[in-house]
């Protein structure tokens, strides 16, 4: 089933089944004359434990691709296999369970509830999963410790700096122990020093916990730190970034 797409496969994991495999993904927005083809046939394979940067200019289709891979949106054409299962066959409960426990997302914006406490924001995925209040608290505090935010647990989401907010968002993405962490421009809203700290956290998770890391960025310095880079331009993957001299 999983015919290997153009994949350098330089990583020597013995895993037979890639955690994500996409073939010929297409996605258009709008209709008629307004129609815009954001993705024009993208194929890729991502193995367990991989760290992948999706690099491209603004408007090139990075976020669209990531949303499709994270099963937040459905492609117009093509298929996505998650851990060997075709995503199209998943619906309702199973799709929700997958989104909830297998994937973690760090969006371009923070999407924190400003009136709730940091801890409440962080344990939202556990609440959705139906985890009891006590366990939610324990796991929420554990992940806040991990990100050195334990002292901010009771703060309101609104009363945090940008870097703290981004770390809260990462804590929220990690709280349900996802296998794949998606991050859309995780350092885009941060100053260089803070961005560096967040980057270190993400790579630490990949290195120490084996979490598959898929990050969208237009920052080439950041992209350079990943094991693999996928370059995208006008909705298609291109082999190198030579044309993307920033």
């Amino acid at each position: 089933m999983n015919t290997p797409p153009p994949d350098p496969s330089e990583i020597g994991f013995p895993m037979p089944v890639p955690i994500l495999a996409a073939r010929d993904l297409t996605k258009s927005y709008g209709r008629g004359p307004d129609r815009f083809d954001a993705l024009k046939g993208v194929s890729l394979t991502i193995d367990r434990g991989d760290s992948v940067a999706i690099v491209g200019k603004s408007g090139s289709g990075k976020s669209t691709l990531m949303h499709l891979l994270a099963l937040l949106d459905t492609p117009d054409g093509g298929t996505i296999d998650v851990d060997g299962t075709e995503a199209r066959s998943l619906a309702g409960r199973r799709l929700n369970a997958l989104r909830n426990s297998m994937f973690g997302f760090v969006f371009q914006q923070f999407f924190l509830n400003p009136s709730s406490s940091v801890l409440e924001n962080v344990v939202l995925p556990l609440k959705i999963a139906g985890v009891g209040a006590k366990e939610r608290r324990a796991r929420g505090m554990a992940v806040l410790e991990q990100l050195e935010l334990a002292d901010k647990a009771k703060n309101k989401g609104a009363n945090l700096s940008g870097g703290q907010k981004q770390r809260v968002v990462i804590a929220r993405a990690l709280v349900n122990n996802p296998q794949v962490l998606f991050a859309d421009e995780p350092t885009g809203n941060l100053d260089t020093a803070t961005g560096r700290i967040v980057e270190d956290i993400l790579f630490g998770l990949n290195r120490d916990h084996g979490i598959t890391l898929i990050t969208v960025t237009h920052d080439h310095d950041l992209a350079a730190r990943f094991a693999r880079r996928l370059f995208i331009r006008d909705g298609v993957l291109i082999p190198t970034d030579e044309e993307h001299a920033a």
């Binding site: 937040l72 949106d73 989104r99 909830n100 914006q109 999407f111 999963a129």
Partner: protein
């Protein structure tokens, strides 16, 4: 998401926009308040009517009269029929009523379901007097099975041979008693004139004192022994025919369903008698009151429907405001069902708050007003609490309002639930 978490989250969410939620709650408050008041009015008045009906007679008895088949006024004089006797009747001057003879009573008694027939004797005592004090006019009502509301003493002893009466409370002071308690157990003298104009007296004991009430204008209730004694005195020297004819009879029956009652009525009608239960006679009053309360209820429901649109509006704005949050939760695997449940629970909670506060305020204010009325303008009608709040009907009002709120919440909740996570997250 666990149901308890949905409930908690919905409650928290409803307080996020305090001003908007408060205004919606206020709108519901008005509707729930009105509905509780009108409901209380209905309960209060029908409670009162029920006790009043119990006070004037048994619900297991018909008042039977001979059906007057003479034509409508203006159809010319009626042919004389020697078999039917007429007596002057109450009502408009000159009107007459057909009388019942012993044969009629027997015929009524043969109708299946009727357990007993007794003639209603019209007794006209002249006065009542106690221990040489002033004499006062008295009318008596010998309605079997009545359970008057007593202020003092006990009910009539129908089986005993001692003549007894229940004294209306308005007689207590005029007759010379210091209080109701003193009157109970006292012997009074009742004067009555017979057919030849000779005055007789009968001694009767006061068994109890009756509350003043709306439907007790019939006079003092008397027991069988007293009514027999009075009738004997009144009929002394009367022609035989007068002793054996009556204008009406009381026919009793075993407790029956309304269908059985209807059945007996139609059998009596077929035999040429008109039978009315107490409910028939009181029914019109009830219908009018129910009509008025129905109109008031309709206004309250209109207010609630208006409040329902307030809920729709409030929640649509919430859904709009929380578009990203909904998208985020769906992206994290929250099912459409949970999102729907979250918003409709919020609607039902807002409905609950509005109706609980509205009902509580209505009960508080209503009880105070009703108490003040009972002590003031309505004090002549003992036992009338114009507003009575039955727990069940208050609960029904709250549930109804919550149901309206829930229905109002379904549109916004459905909108929230069907959102695509990514559209919701892109929403600015």
């Amino acid at each position: 998401m666990k149901p308890m978490d949905i409930l908690k989250t919905a409650v928290t969410n409803s307080f996020r926009s305090k001003l908007r939620t408060s205004l919606t709650i206020l709108a519901i408050f008005v509707g729930a308040f009105t509905l509780t008041i009108t409901n209380g009015l209905g309960t209060g008045i029908s409670n009162y009517i029920d006790t009043q009906i119990a006070a004037v007679g048994s619900s297991n008895a018909f008042t039977v009269t001979k059906t007057d088949t003479s034509g409508t006024p203006g159809s010319g004089p009626q042919k004389y029929d020697p078999a039917s006797r007429r007596v002057a009747a109450g009502g408009r001057p000159g009107s007459t009523a057909l009388v019942l003879a012993q044969s009629d009573l027997d015929a009524i008694g043969r109708i299946s379901g009727i357990t007993g027939v007794s003639p209603v004797t019209r007794l006209s005592p002249d006065y009542i007097q106690w221990a040489g004090h002033d004499k006062y006019q008295l009318s008596v009502s010998p309605l079997a099975g009545a359970t008057p509301q007593l202020d003092a003493g006990s009910g009539l002893d129908e089986a005993g041979s001692q003549p007894q009466l229940i004294l209306p409370s308005s007689y207590v002071a005029p007759l010379g008693f210091a209080g109701e308690a003193q009157a109970v157990g006292q012997d009074t003298v009742i004067g009555i004139t017979d057919a030849t104009g000779k005055a007789h007296t009968v001694t009767a004991r006061i068994a109890g004192v009756q509350q003043s009430a709306l439907l007790s204008a019939g006079g003092a209730f008397i027991n069988k022994a007293l009514s027999t004694a009075l009738a004997d005195a009144q009929d002394t020297g009367a022609p035989a025919a007068a002793k054996t004819t009556w204008t009406a009879a009381t026919a009793t029956f075993a407790p029956s369903s309304s269908r059985q009652v209807q059945d007996m009525k139609s059998k009596l009608a077929a035999a040429g008698y008109t039978a009315q239960t107490l409910d028939d006679r009181i029914g019109t009053v009830r219908t009018v009151i129910n009509g008025i309360i129905g109109v008031l209820d309709a206004f309250a429901v209109i207010a609630l429907i208006a409040a329902g649109f307030g809920i729709v509006n409030t929640l649509l704005m919430s859904v709009q405001e929380r578009t990203r949050e909904i998208g985020l939760m769906k992206a994290m695997g929250m099912g459409s069902g949970s999102v729907f449940a979250l918003f409709s629970t919020e609607a039902a909670f807002i409905g609950f708050l509005g109706s609980a506060i509205g009902s509580a305020a209505a009960i508080g204010l209503g009880t105070a007003v009703s108490g003040a009325l009972a002590r003031g303008p309505l004090s002549d009608l003992a036992g009338l609490q114009i507003l009575a709040f039955a727990p069940l009907s208050v609960a029904a009002v709250i549930l109804l309002v919550m149901a309206i709120a829930f229905l109002a919440g379904t549109l916004p909740a459905w909108r929230a639930a069907r959102q695509n996570p990514i559209d919701a997250l892109r929403y600015e």
